[in-house]
Structures are given as C-alpha cells and as structure tokens.
Amino acid sequence: MGTYLQSLVAMVDPYLMQILVNVGIAIVLALGLNVIVGLTGQLSLGHAAFMSIGAFASAMITIKTGLPFSLNLVLTGVVTALVAAIIGFPILRLTGDYLAICTLGFAEIVKVFFLNFEPTNKALGLTVPAAKTVIPMPIYVLIVAIIAIVLVTFVQSSRFGRALKAIREDEIAAEAMGINTTRYKIQAFALGSFMAGVGGGLYAHFLSYINPSDFGFLKSVDILSMVVLGGLGSVPGTVIGSSILASAPEFLRFMSQYRMLVYGALLVFLMVFRPNGLLGGVNFMDLCLRAIGKKPAGVALKQKK
C-alpha cells in the first residue's frame, strides 16, 4: 500500500506538492486558531508557540522512541493541549487586549526556551528523521486536514460550540445561561492548541528541520491573517483563507522583489472592502445552494420525527 501511495504522490510535480502540503498544514493550524479566535472570541497572538511545542515534541518522540506516526501526532497534540490548559488557566481570565499581550509574551517565552534548550540543539535547530509510517507525508497531511475540517465543523454545531459562540457574543449573558465561561475558554484554548501541536508535528516531519526562530510572532500573525481573511468563525472561510495565503508567496514569485509588497497590499485591499473576511457571517451551505439555484433550507422548521 505504501509503495502505491508513494507512486501516486510522485505523479504530482514536487513544487506543486510542496505548496499543497504547506496549504494543508496551514489549514490545520488556522482551524485551530479559528476555534480560539473565531468561535470563542479570545484573541490569541501566540499560536505559533503551540505550533513550535508540537514540532519539537513530535520530533523528540520520533528521535527518542519508535512510536508510529499516528500515535506520535496524537501524543504531540495532547502534550500541547496540556501546556495550553495550564497556561490558559491564569491568563484566560483576562479580556481582549490584555489576553493578546499575554499570549504574545508567552510565545516569546517559548521561543527563548527552545533557543536555549540543550536536548533540541538550542539555536542550531533540530534535524528531524523521517516519520515512522508507510503513508507518504503529503497524504498524511491531507488526511489530517480533512479530519480537522470535519472536527471543527462538528464542534460548531454542537452544544459545546454554542457555548463558545455565546462566550464570544456576550460573556455576562453566557454566564447567566449557566455557562462556566472560564472552563469553556480553557477547553477551546486547549482544543485549538491541540490542533496547533499536530500541525507543528506535521510541519517538523515534512520540512525535516526545525529551528526555534521559525516560530516567532510573524508566524502567529501569518496564521491569524488566514483566519481573519477567511472570515472569523467560518470553517470554509478559514480553509479558503489558508489556501490563498499559504500559496500566495509562491504564486507571486514571478513578481520577485515586489512579492511581499503585493502580498501585503492584497491583505489590506481585502480588509478594506470586506472586513468581515471572505466568508465571514456567510452560511456556506446556503451560499452553495443559492449558487445552484435552490432555496436554502431552514426557512421551515424541522418536522418532529
């Protein structure tokens, strides 16, 4: 099976494959941040920190143990989520700007920690051996990305997701409805960080080399831009936003030195004319139904079974 998949992957142009994998990893990271920022309304500027924790944890698990990659990723996610829950406990009591500054500070702490952490080669970075799996990395990323999309979509329409949305809309009203806002904020933070950790693990094994400087503030902003561009709280929006922003630097390469200028201008242009994000506040299912000419469902109430 492994060789069959390898040949499948080999059929695709390696340059294109690299872009697609980057997009896939970006989708996983951005969906995680979407749970924190888009669904729960907690501004986190330190998402890259959890990505780096996941990257280094996953790399160390591969280096030190022979665990299969699937187990590796799950463990990585759990470790990252635990760190998030621990740090979230004190700081998620803060609101808005203060929380943002705290997450920013935390991200810097993590970066400096890894820059000085002996077991992961400090500032020299870590070479990551191949992942222990027969499935080629691009397929792995595709599977994880699909799981992430399904997971966040399920969460959105669940009782848990509704509680998160309530917190985003009005914390005091949410508390008056019996929602323990601190507990749910921590859980959302942990879930988003779980996904960041898994994304970091995929990143580490795809790139085969990770350096603490890769995961700075700019990376956090990168991921946040994807979420904001796509539309806060919208899963299809985040997927589209990630696809655009993760591939734009490559597709704009023909512009050589003007590349990042155009990238920035693109972002500004989109934010001026569509501040809600591309699919912010848009019900994707309704949009699709309208596009093919059918009336959106939900206008009549569900009939009792």
Partner: protein, 258 residues
C-alpha cells in the same frame, strides 16, 4: 412556601451603599414586582441575586440554600433565569441558537459529545434541546422567526426572545428586568398576558418595572425600593395608597395632597 429569601442584604461600592439591609421574601408561584425611582438599586438587587455581585452583608437563599457569593453560572444552573435591562442577546446568532444556548444547562454533552456528533445519545440530547427551544419560542410567539438573526429582530421581539431564552433554563424563578421598557400599549398588553401564562405554568416571576399600570395589573405583591432601602411592601392596593411611595415617586408635595 418561600422560594427566594433576602435577609439584610447590603452591598457597598466604596462609600456608596447601593442596597441597604433589604429584607424580602418571594413566595413560590407568585408574581412579585420591585419598583422604585431610577437609581434605587433595583437592578443591583437583581445582580446580587444572580451572582454578578456579592453582597457585603446579609444572606440570599434560594429554595433554602444560600446562593450569596456563588458564581452566576452556578446560580443559573440552580434554576434562576433572568433577562437584562439593556437587552443582552447573542445578536450574531439565530433566534433558535439563542434559545438553545438558554437550554445549555439542560444538556450534558461536551467536547467529546461534539466529536461523536452522530452517536445516538448525542443526537437524542440535541433533539431534546431542540424541542425545548421550540416550546419556549412558542410561549413567546416567536417560532416563525426561528432562523432569523437575533440582531435583526424589532425591539419588542428582542425582549420576548430574551424571555424565551431565560425560560429555556426551565427555571423555578425568572427575573425580568424592565420587560416592558420601550413597548407601546399594545405590546405591553401582549406581554402582560404572556407573563401571566408563564406564571400559570408554575414559574415564579420576580420583575422590575416602571410602568405602574403594568405592575398593578399583574403583581400579587409589590416591594418598593428607594435609595437602596425597602420603603414599603404589600398588595397593589396597599402600595397605591402608601404615602411614602407616593412621596418617593412624586415628591413631598404630592404625598401631602394624597
């Protein structure tokens, strides 16, 4: 039997005594109104009962259990629902979602339940919550707008939605903070009938309101607050004739003319 008991409840914000040794008992199944001039401390009292503030002194017991100082979500889960003076709906969510969030305490499924979306126990609970939400919307007459964004509703319907959302807790007592504010006489009449219907289902109603006709028409008992102190309590007839109440609302001259 008394469902809510306030004993010597006091709260101080620095040097300001917002609520001063208030004693109040609300009987189960009744409709009690709290009236008084603006700034008397009525909403503060509501916030004390629902846990947003902690009293500096005094005790608050709900169904014979002390709730003073407990967190708001704990108190809500215990069976106290409320609406807000300045409407606090979840405006970017649909009407149905707002009431479903109100029904939050009626469910148990959390993150694992979200992931296992198609498991029978999760689907059953979602179905139950959905039915409860529709029931509450029926009680306020908003089922036809279930999928409308809450923020798009006209003012009067937003107030009714807040009531539906509070009812979804299936509370023992519901606290209505100025439910008739900003409504025209026709809407107030509809609201009056709605509150009476809610009371008939066994829910105790405790409301703050300025519209005297509304208050007199619906309450079993009325308590009057002025500058944080309870100055009178009794049946609508007793309150109407009480000189202290008239003085608080209309000034000293009016009291001596009454």
């Amino acid at each position: 039997m008394s469902i809510l008991k306030l004993e010597d409840v006091t709260i101080r914000f620095g040097g300001l005594v917002a609520v001063d040794k208030v004693n109040l008992t609300v009987e189960k199944g009744s409709i009690v109104a709290l009236i008084g001039p603006n700034g008397a401390g009525k909403s503060t009292l509501f916030n004390l009962i629902t846990g947003i503030y902690t009293p500096t002194e005094g005790t608050i017991s709900f169904m014979d259990e002390s709730i003073a100082g407990k967190t708001p979500y704990h108190i809500a889960a215990a069976g106290i629902g409320r609406t807000f003076q300045n409407i606090r709906l979840f405006t970017q969510l649909t009407v149905l979602e707002n009431v479903l969030i109100g029904a939050h305490t009626r469910g148990k499924c959390d993150l694992t339940g979200a992931i296992l979306k198609f498991m029978p126990w999760v689907r059953r609970e979602e179905g139950e919550l959905y039915d409860l939400a529709i029931e509450c919307l029926k009680q306020v007459g908003l089922t036809y707008k279930a999928y409308e964004l809450a923020g798009n509703l006209p003012y009067g319907e937003q107030r009714r939605l807040e009531i539906a959302r509070a009812l979804a807790i299936k509370p023992e007592i519901i606290l209505l903070d100025e439910p008739a504010a900003g409504m025209n006489p026709q809407e107030k009449h509809t609201l009056l009938e709605m509150v009476q219907a809610i009371s008939k289902t066994g829910v105790t109603v405790f409301l703050v309101e300025h519209d005297m006709k509304f208050v007199m028409g619906i309450s079993d008992r009325i308590a009057v607050l002025d500058y944080g102190v309870k100055i009178a309590e009794g049946t609508p007839e007793q309150i109407r004739a009480n000189p202290k109440v008239i003085e608080a609302y209309l000034g000293k001259g009016a009291a001596s003319n009454a």
